[in-house]
Symmetry: C2
Subunit: 217 residues, 2 copies
DNA sequence: ATTACTAGTCTTCGAGTAC
DNA sequence: TGTACTCGAAGACTAGTAA
Protein backbone atom coordinates (compact mmCIF):
# COMPACT_ATOMS: atom_id res chain seq x y z
CA UNK A 1 0.00 0.00 0.00
CA UNK A 2 1.34 3.37 -0.99
CA UNK A 3 -0.54 6.44 0.10
CA UNK A 4 -0.37 9.54 -2.06
CA UNK A 5 0.20 13.09 -1.07
CA UNK A 6 -3.49 13.86 -1.29
CA UNK A 7 -4.29 10.87 0.89
CA UNK A 8 -1.82 12.15 3.40
CA UNK A 9 -3.29 15.65 3.36
CA UNK A 10 -6.67 14.18 4.12
CA UNK A 11 -5.30 12.14 6.98
CA UNK A 12 -3.66 15.28 8.30
CA UNK A 13 -6.90 17.20 7.96
CA UNK A 14 -8.72 14.62 10.03
CA UNK A 15 -5.94 14.54 12.60
CA UNK A 16 -5.97 18.31 12.92
CA UNK A 17 -9.70 18.58 13.29
CA UNK A 18 -10.54 15.48 15.23
CA UNK A 19 -7.34 15.23 17.19
CA UNK A 20 -5.78 11.84 17.81
CA UNK A 21 -8.60 10.43 19.86
CA UNK A 22 -11.72 12.29 18.91
CA UNK A 23 -14.05 12.52 15.97
CA UNK A 24 -14.85 15.29 13.53
CA UNK A 25 -17.98 15.75 11.51
CA UNK A 26 -17.67 17.12 8.02
CA UNK A 27 -18.99 16.70 4.51
CA UNK A 28 -16.98 15.76 1.46
CA UNK A 29 -17.58 19.15 -0.14
CA UNK A 30 -16.60 21.01 2.99
CA UNK A 31 -13.32 19.13 3.18
CA UNK A 32 -12.87 19.54 -0.56
CA UNK A 33 -13.07 23.30 -0.41
CA UNK A 34 -10.73 23.34 2.56
CA UNK A 35 -8.08 21.26 0.81
CA UNK A 36 -8.72 22.48 -2.72
CA UNK A 37 -9.70 19.07 -3.98
CA UNK A 38 -12.91 18.23 -5.77
CA UNK A 39 -15.82 16.81 -3.82
CA UNK A 40 -15.49 13.61 -5.83
CA UNK A 41 -11.87 13.19 -4.96
CA UNK A 42 -12.54 13.59 -1.26
CA UNK A 43 -15.32 11.05 -1.50
CA UNK A 44 -13.09 8.58 -3.29
CA UNK A 45 -10.18 9.14 -0.95
CA UNK A 46 -12.23 8.85 2.22
CA UNK A 47 -13.43 5.46 0.98
CA UNK A 48 -9.86 4.50 0.27
CA UNK A 49 -8.56 5.56 3.67
CA UNK A 50 -11.37 3.69 5.39
CA UNK A 51 -10.69 0.62 3.27
CA UNK A 52 -7.03 0.77 4.18
CA UNK A 53 -8.05 1.06 7.82
CA UNK A 54 -6.37 4.37 8.32
CA UNK A 55 -9.54 6.10 9.39
CA UNK A 56 -12.92 5.19 10.81
CA UNK A 57 -15.74 6.60 8.79
CA UNK A 58 -19.47 6.77 9.27
CA UNK A 59 -21.51 8.19 6.45
CA UNK A 60 -24.73 10.01 7.24
CA UNK A 61 -27.21 11.92 5.15
CA UNK A 62 -25.62 15.19 6.23
CA UNK A 63 -21.94 14.27 6.19
CA UNK A 64 -19.31 11.99 7.67
CA UNK A 65 -18.11 11.31 11.16
CA UNK A 66 -14.41 10.70 10.94
CA UNK A 67 -11.66 9.61 13.27
CA UNK A 68 -8.19 8.13 13.08
CA UNK A 69 -7.55 4.44 13.60
CA UNK A 70 -4.46 3.16 15.34
CA UNK A 71 -2.98 2.40 11.94
CA UNK A 72 -3.65 5.95 10.81
CA UNK A 73 -2.02 7.37 13.90
CA UNK A 74 0.96 5.12 13.32
CA UNK A 75 1.52 6.48 9.84
CA UNK A 76 1.48 10.03 11.12
CA UNK A 77 3.81 9.12 13.94
CA UNK A 78 6.28 7.50 11.56
CA UNK A 79 6.43 10.69 9.53
CA UNK A 80 6.90 12.73 12.62
CA UNK A 81 9.73 10.52 13.81
CA UNK A 82 11.55 10.77 10.50
CA UNK A 83 11.31 14.54 10.52
CA UNK A 84 12.29 14.78 14.17
CA UNK A 85 15.45 12.85 13.41
CA UNK A 86 16.39 15.15 10.58
CA UNK A 87 15.90 18.28 12.61
CA UNK A 88 17.40 17.03 15.83
CA UNK A 89 20.65 15.78 14.37
CA UNK A 90 23.43 17.78 15.86
CA UNK A 91 25.72 19.72 13.65
CA UNK A 92 28.42 17.41 12.47
CA UNK A 93 31.73 17.94 14.12
CA UNK A 94 34.45 17.91 11.56
CA UNK A 95 37.94 16.54 11.77
CA UNK A 96 40.71 17.65 9.47
CA UNK A 97 43.82 15.70 8.63
CA UNK A 98 46.63 15.63 6.13
CA UNK A 99 47.34 12.74 3.84
CA UNK A 100 50.39 10.66 4.69
CA UNK A 101 52.01 7.96 2.66
CA UNK A 102 51.31 4.72 4.44
CA UNK A 103 53.68 1.84 5.03
CA UNK A 104 51.54 -0.71 3.29
CA UNK A 105 50.68 -2.13 6.70
CA UNK A 106 47.09 -1.03 6.57
CA UNK A 107 46.68 -2.64 3.20
CA UNK A 108 47.83 -5.97 4.59
CA UNK A 109 45.41 -5.99 7.47
CA UNK A 110 42.43 -4.64 5.60
CA UNK A 111 42.86 -7.37 3.00
CA UNK A 112 42.50 -10.20 5.47
CA UNK A 113 39.27 -11.97 4.76
CA UNK A 114 38.54 -12.23 8.47
CA UNK A 115 38.22 -8.45 8.48
CA UNK A 116 36.87 -7.95 4.95
CA UNK A 117 33.81 -10.09 5.63
CA UNK A 118 32.96 -8.00 8.64
CA UNK A 119 33.49 -4.74 6.77
CA UNK A 120 31.08 -5.81 4.12
CA UNK A 121 28.51 -6.87 6.66
CA UNK A 122 28.83 -3.85 8.91
CA UNK A 123 29.42 -1.09 6.40
CA UNK A 124 27.23 -2.52 3.68
CA UNK A 125 29.83 -2.56 0.93
CA UNK A 126 33.00 -4.28 -0.11
CA UNK A 127 35.98 -2.27 1.07
CA UNK A 128 38.84 -1.17 -1.17
CA UNK A 129 41.93 -3.12 -0.17
CA UNK A 130 43.97 -0.26 1.19
CA UNK A 131 43.80 2.55 3.71
CA UNK A 132 44.16 6.29 3.60
CA UNK A 133 46.49 7.55 6.30
CA UNK A 134 45.74 10.92 7.80
CA UNK A 135 47.79 12.91 10.26
CA UNK A 136 45.43 14.54 12.74
CA UNK A 137 45.51 16.20 16.14
CA UNK A 138 44.92 13.66 18.83
CA UNK A 139 42.80 15.91 21.00
CA UNK A 140 40.45 16.62 18.13
CA UNK A 141 40.26 12.94 17.33
CA UNK A 142 38.92 12.03 20.74
CA UNK A 143 36.21 14.63 20.60
CA UNK A 144 35.32 13.66 17.07
CA UNK A 145 35.08 9.95 17.77
CA UNK A 146 33.10 10.43 20.95
CA UNK A 147 30.26 11.86 18.85
CA UNK A 148 30.22 8.80 16.62
CA UNK A 149 28.79 5.36 17.00
CA UNK A 150 31.31 2.58 17.61
CA UNK A 151 31.11 -0.46 15.36
CA UNK A 152 33.00 -3.44 16.67
CA UNK A 153 35.02 -5.66 14.37
CA UNK A 154 35.94 -8.84 16.18
CA UNK A 155 39.37 -10.44 16.15
CA UNK A 156 40.09 -13.84 14.65
CA UNK A 157 42.85 -16.38 14.32
CA UNK A 158 44.49 -18.11 11.38
CA UNK A 159 46.85 -21.09 11.60
CA UNK A 160 49.81 -18.79 11.78
CA UNK A 161 48.74 -16.04 14.15
CA UNK A 162 45.81 -14.13 15.66
CA UNK A 163 44.44 -10.71 14.85
CA UNK A 164 42.89 -8.40 17.41
CA UNK A 165 39.51 -6.67 17.42
CA UNK A 166 39.10 -3.19 16.03
CA UNK A 167 36.61 -0.33 16.06
CA UNK A 168 35.02 1.36 13.08
CA UNK A 169 33.55 4.85 13.00
CA UNK A 170 31.59 5.75 9.89
CA UNK A 171 32.55 9.06 8.31
CA UNK A 172 32.02 11.10 5.19
CA UNK A 173 35.30 11.98 3.54
CA UNK A 174 35.37 15.52 2.19
CA UNK A 175 31.67 15.65 2.87
CA UNK A 176 30.84 13.24 0.11
CA UNK A 177 32.41 9.85 0.14
CA UNK A 178 31.50 7.10 2.55
CA UNK A 179 34.30 5.72 4.63
CA UNK A 180 35.22 4.66 8.13
CA UNK A 181 38.02 5.32 10.55
CA UNK A 182 39.46 2.05 11.80
CA UNK A 183 41.37 1.81 15.04
CA UNK A 184 42.65 -1.23 16.92
CA UNK A 185 40.47 -1.76 19.96
CA UNK A 186 43.31 -1.87 22.43
CA UNK A 187 45.94 0.34 21.00
CA UNK A 188 49.15 0.46 23.02
CA UNK A 189 50.72 3.42 21.32
CA UNK A 190 48.32 6.34 20.84
CA UNK A 191 49.06 7.92 17.55
CA UNK A 192 48.34 11.02 15.58
CA UNK A 193 47.91 8.97 12.43
CA UNK A 194 44.54 7.42 11.64
CA UNK A 195 43.58 4.99 8.93
CA UNK A 196 40.48 5.43 6.83
CA UNK A 197 38.90 2.67 4.83
CA UNK A 198 36.27 3.08 2.13
CA UNK A 199 34.55 1.18 -0.67
CA UNK A 200 36.58 3.43 -2.95
CA UNK A 201 40.23 4.05 -3.64
CA UNK A 202 40.11 7.40 -1.89
CA UNK A 203 43.42 8.74 -3.17
CA UNK A 204 42.18 8.32 -6.70
CA UNK A 205 38.53 9.25 -6.20
CA UNK A 206 39.39 12.46 -4.39
CA UNK A 207 42.54 13.12 -6.42
CA UNK A 208 44.71 13.30 -3.31
CA UNK A 209 48.44 13.63 -3.04
CA UNK A 210 50.63 13.54 0.04
CA UNK A 211 50.05 16.30 2.56
CA UNK A 212 46.65 17.27 1.13
CA UNK A 213 44.03 18.46 3.57
CA UNK A 214 41.09 16.09 4.00
CA UNK A 215 38.01 16.61 6.11
CA UNK A 216 36.05 13.92 7.88
CA UNK A 217 32.53 14.44 9.11
CA UNK B 1 3.20 24.63 -6.56
CA UNK B 2 2.06 21.32 -5.16
CA UNK B 3 4.62 18.70 -4.41
CA UNK B 4 3.62 15.08 -4.64
CA UNK B 5 4.26 12.26 -2.27
CA UNK B 6 7.14 10.98 -4.37
CA UNK B 7 8.67 14.45 -4.47
CA UNK B 8 8.43 14.55 -0.73
CA UNK B 9 10.06 11.14 -0.35
CA UNK B 10 12.95 12.33 -2.44
CA UNK B 11 13.33 15.47 -0.38
CA UNK B 12 13.29 13.33 2.72
CA UNK B 13 15.90 11.01 1.24
CA UNK B 14 18.22 13.93 0.60
CA UNK B 15 17.59 15.35 4.05
CA UNK B 16 18.33 12.02 5.68
CA UNK B 17 21.51 11.42 3.78
CA UNK B 18 22.90 14.90 3.43
CA UNK B 19 21.54 16.31 6.64
CA UNK B 20 20.20 19.84 6.72
CA UNK B 21 23.44 21.57 5.90
CA UNK B 22 25.57 19.11 4.04
CA UNK B 23 25.65 17.45 0.65
CA UNK B 24 25.22 13.88 -0.47
CA UNK B 25 26.51 12.26 -3.62
CA UNK B 26 24.35 9.70 -5.33
CA UNK B 27 23.19 8.56 -8.74
CA UNK B 28 19.61 8.50 -9.97
CA UNK B 29 19.62 4.72 -10.16
CA UNK B 30 21.02 4.36 -6.67
CA UNK B 31 18.29 6.57 -5.25
CA UNK B 32 15.73 4.81 -7.42
CA UNK B 33 16.52 1.40 -5.99
CA UNK B 34 16.49 2.83 -2.48
CA UNK B 35 13.06 4.41 -2.87
CA UNK B 36 11.60 1.85 -5.27
CA UNK B 37 11.12 4.35 -8.07
CA UNK B 38 12.42 4.01 -11.59
CA UNK B 39 15.68 5.67 -12.53
CA UNK B 40 13.77 7.89 -14.95
CA UNK B 41 11.38 9.07 -12.28
CA UNK B 42 14.21 10.03 -9.98
CA UNK B 43 15.86 11.91 -12.83
CA UNK B 44 12.68 13.79 -13.62
CA UNK B 45 11.91 14.54 -10.01
CA UNK B 46 15.39 15.76 -9.19
CA UNK B 47 15.09 18.21 -12.08
CA UNK B 48 11.73 19.29 -10.76
CA UNK B 49 12.93 19.80 -7.20
CA UNK B 50 15.91 21.79 -8.43
CA UNK B 51 13.66 23.87 -10.66
CA UNK B 52 11.38 24.58 -7.74
CA UNK B 53 14.42 25.57 -5.72
CA UNK B 54 13.87 22.96 -3.08
CA UNK B 55 17.26 21.36 -3.61
CA UNK B 56 20.60 22.30 -5.03
CA UNK B 57 21.79 19.86 -7.62
CA UNK B 58 25.02 19.43 -9.51
CA UNK B 59 25.10 16.75 -12.17
CA UNK B 60 28.34 14.96 -12.90
CA UNK B 61 29.27 12.10 -15.14
CA UNK B 62 29.16 9.74 -12.17
CA UNK B 63 26.13 11.03 -10.30
CA UNK B 64 24.66 14.04 -8.52
CA UNK B 65 25.74 16.17 -5.63
CA UNK B 66 22.63 17.12 -3.75
CA UNK B 67 21.75 19.37 -0.87
CA UNK B 68 18.71 21.09 0.55
CA UNK B 69 18.00 24.76 -0.11
CA UNK B 70 16.45 26.99 2.50
CA UNK B 71 13.13 26.59 0.75
CA UNK B 72 13.47 22.82 0.89
CA UNK B 73 14.27 22.92 4.59
CA UNK B 74 11.26 25.15 5.14
CA UNK B 75 8.92 22.63 3.57
CA UNK B 76 10.23 19.88 5.79
CA UNK B 77 9.97 22.10 8.83
CA UNK B 78 6.38 23.01 8.04
CA UNK B 79 5.47 19.35 7.94
CA UNK B 80 7.25 18.71 11.15
CA UNK B 81 5.46 21.58 12.85
CA UNK B 82 2.07 20.33 11.72
CA UNK B 83 2.77 16.86 13.04
CA UNK B 84 4.24 18.17 16.27
CA UNK B 85 1.04 20.07 16.91
CA UNK B 86 -1.10 17.03 16.38
CA UNK B 87 0.92 14.88 18.70
CA UNK B 88 1.48 17.45 21.40
CA UNK B 89 -2.12 18.53 21.79
CA UNK B 90 -3.26 17.80 25.27
CA UNK B 91 -6.27 15.69 25.87
CA UNK B 92 -9.31 17.85 25.69
CA UNK B 93 -10.87 18.73 28.97
CA UNK B 94 -14.61 18.35 28.79
CA UNK B 95 -17.33 20.39 30.36
CA UNK B 96 -20.84 19.11 30.88
CA UNK B 97 -23.95 21.18 31.21
CA UNK B 98 -27.70 20.87 31.09
CA UNK B 99 -29.89 22.70 28.64
CA UNK B 100 -31.93 25.56 30.04
CA UNK B 101 -34.66 27.50 28.39
CA UNK B 102 -33.29 30.97 27.77
CA UNK B 103 -35.02 34.25 28.23
CA UNK B 104 -34.57 35.39 24.68
CA UNK B 105 -31.95 37.82 25.91
CA UNK B 106 -29.11 36.00 24.23
CA UNK B 107 -30.97 36.04 20.98
CA UNK B 108 -31.28 39.79 21.11
CA UNK B 109 -27.61 40.42 21.68
CA UNK B 110 -26.32 37.83 19.29
CA UNK B 111 -28.43 39.32 16.53
CA UNK B 112 -26.87 42.75 16.76
CA UNK B 113 -24.90 43.32 13.61
CA UNK B 114 -22.08 44.87 15.61
CA UNK B 115 -21.53 41.45 17.12
CA UNK B 116 -22.58 39.31 14.16
CA UNK B 117 -19.93 40.81 11.91
CA UNK B 118 -17.25 39.96 14.43
CA UNK B 119 -18.55 36.42 14.89
CA UNK B 120 -18.35 35.81 11.21
CA UNK B 121 -14.85 37.21 11.00
CA UNK B 122 -13.48 35.48 14.08
CA UNK B 123 -15.29 32.15 13.92
CA UNK B 124 -15.32 31.88 10.15
CA UNK B 125 -19.06 31.40 9.76
CA UNK B 126 -22.32 33.21 10.11
CA UNK B 127 -23.81 32.53 13.52
CA UNK B 128 -27.34 31.26 14.13
CA UNK B 129 -29.33 34.06 15.73
CA UNK B 130 -29.87 32.50 19.11
CA UNK B 131 -27.99 30.97 21.99
CA UNK B 132 -28.03 27.67 23.77
CA UNK B 133 -28.13 28.13 27.53
CA UNK B 134 -26.36 25.54 29.63
CA UNK B 135 -26.31 25.18 33.38
CA UNK B 136 -22.81 24.20 34.44
CA UNK B 137 -20.67 24.05 37.54
CA UNK B 138 -18.76 27.27 37.92
CA UNK B 139 -15.59 25.67 39.19
CA UNK B 140 -15.44 23.39 36.21
CA UNK B 141 -16.06 26.30 33.91
CA UNK B 142 -13.00 28.19 35.08
CA UNK B 143 -10.75 25.23 34.59
CA UNK B 144 -12.27 24.50 31.21
CA UNK B 145 -11.96 28.03 29.91
CA UNK B 146 -8.41 28.43 31.16
CA UNK B 147 -7.35 25.72 28.72
CA UNK B 148 -8.90 27.56 25.79
CA UNK B 149 -7.81 30.47 23.71
CA UNK B 150 -9.65 33.73 24.33
CA UNK B 151 -11.08 35.50 21.33
CA UNK B 152 -12.02 39.08 21.98
CA UNK B 153 -15.20 40.60 20.57
CA UNK B 154 -15.07 44.37 20.93
CA UNK B 155 -17.91 46.52 22.14
CA UNK B 156 -19.65 49.11 20.01
CA UNK B 157 -22.23 51.86 20.22
CA UNK B 158 -25.45 52.58 18.37
CA UNK B 159 -27.39 55.82 18.52
CA UNK B 160 -29.46 54.49 21.39
CA UNK B 161 -26.94 52.77 23.62
CA UNK B 162 -23.58 51.05 23.84
CA UNK B 163 -22.73 47.36 24.05
CA UNK B 164 -19.76 45.99 25.92
CA UNK B 165 -16.97 43.70 24.79
CA UNK B 166 -17.20 39.95 25.18
CA UNK B 167 -14.99 36.87 25.03
CA UNK B 168 -15.41 33.82 22.82
CA UNK B 169 -14.03 30.37 23.48
CA UNK B 170 -14.32 27.92 20.63
CA UNK B 171 -15.79 24.54 21.56
CA UNK B 172 -17.12 21.36 20.03
CA UNK B 173 -20.64 20.63 21.16
CA UNK B 174 -21.21 16.96 21.84
CA UNK B 175 -17.86 16.30 20.24
CA UNK B 176 -19.09 17.17 16.80
CA UNK B 177 -20.57 20.55 16.21
CA UNK B 178 -18.63 23.79 16.13
CA UNK B 179 -19.68 26.43 18.56
CA UNK B 180 -18.34 28.96 21.02
CA UNK B 181 -19.02 29.96 24.57
CA UNK B 182 -19.66 33.67 24.80
CA UNK B 183 -19.21 35.59 28.03
CA UNK B 184 -19.31 39.34 28.69
CA UNK B 185 -15.77 40.54 29.28
CA UNK B 186 -16.51 42.22 32.56
CA UNK B 187 -19.27 40.25 34.09
CA UNK B 188 -20.56 41.62 37.35
CA UNK B 189 -22.61 38.66 38.41
CA UNK B 190 -20.79 35.34 38.00
CA UNK B 191 -23.25 32.80 36.88
CA UNK B 192 -23.65 29.08 36.49
CA UNK B 193 -25.40 29.57 33.19
CA UNK B 194 -23.35 29.91 30.02
CA UNK B 195 -24.43 30.80 26.52
CA UNK B 196 -23.22 28.89 23.49
CA UNK B 197 -23.42 30.24 19.97
CA UNK B 198 -22.96 28.24 16.81
CA UNK B 199 -23.46 28.45 13.06
CA UNK B 200 -26.28 25.97 13.65
CA UNK B 201 -29.53 25.93 15.57
CA UNK B 202 -28.09 23.61 18.19
CA UNK B 203 -31.39 22.64 19.79
CA UNK B 204 -32.58 21.35 16.47
CA UNK B 205 -29.34 19.94 15.14
CA UNK B 206 -28.65 17.95 18.31
CA UNK B 207 -32.32 17.25 19.01
CA UNK B 208 -32.14 18.80 22.46
CA UNK B 209 -34.90 19.43 24.93
CA UNK B 210 -34.75 21.20 28.28
CA UNK B 211 -32.54 19.61 30.89
CA UNK B 212 -30.66 17.44 28.39
CA UNK B 213 -26.98 16.76 29.08
CA UNK B 214 -24.61 18.40 26.65
CA UNK B 215 -20.83 18.10 26.55
CA UNK B 216 -18.42 20.78 25.44
CA UNK B 217 -14.86 20.04 24.48
C1' DA C 1 29.13 4.47 -15.73
C1' DT C 2 26.05 8.23 -16.00
C1' DT C 3 21.48 11.49 -17.22
C1' DA C 4 17.37 12.20 -19.55
C1' DC C 5 14.37 12.25 -23.97
C1' DT C 6 10.45 9.87 -26.32
C1' DA C 7 6.47 7.34 -26.46
C1' DG C 8 3.12 4.25 -24.92
C1' DT C 9 0.70 2.71 -20.68
C1' DC C 10 -1.33 3.27 -16.44
C1' DT C 11 -3.22 6.19 -12.81
C1' DT C 12 -5.71 9.94 -10.98
C1' DC C 13 -8.62 13.79 -11.45
C1' DG C 14 -13.06 16.20 -11.65
C1' DA C 15 -17.45 17.60 -14.44
C1' DG C 16 -21.73 15.72 -15.09
C1' DT C 17 -25.20 13.25 -12.86
C1' DA C 18 -27.96 9.75 -10.27
C1' DC C 19 -29.90 8.92 -6.08
C1' DT D 1 -28.52 19.42 1.22
C1' DG D 2 -25.67 14.78 1.18
C1' DT D 3 -22.41 10.55 -1.36
C1' DA D 4 -20.55 8.44 -5.18
C1' DC D 5 -20.72 6.39 -10.11
C1' DT D 6 -19.18 7.05 -15.09
C1' DC D 7 -16.06 8.53 -18.32
C1' DG D 8 -13.10 11.67 -20.94
C1' DA D 9 -8.92 14.40 -20.03
C1' DA D 10 -4.76 15.31 -17.78
C1' DG D 11 -0.83 13.74 -15.43
C1' DA D 12 2.75 10.42 -13.90
C1' DC D 13 5.24 6.30 -14.67
C1' DT D 14 8.63 3.35 -16.86
C1' DA D 15 10.95 0.66 -20.92
C1' DG D 16 13.77 1.69 -24.55
C1' DT D 17 17.39 4.20 -25.95
C1' DA D 18 20.47 8.35 -27.20
C1' DA D 19 24.24 10.92 -25.81
Amino acid sequence: MMISEKDFSLLLFIAKNAGLNDVVKSSTSEIASELNFSQQTVSRKLSFLAEENLIERKVFADGNILSLTEKGKKILLERKTELDKIFSSKKRIKLSGKTQSGLGEGKYYVNLSGYQKQFKKKLGKKIFPGTLNLKIKELELNEFLSSKEKILVTGFSTEKRSFGPALLFKVKVNGLVDGAIIVPERTNHPSDIIEVISPFFLRKKLKLKDNYLVSLS
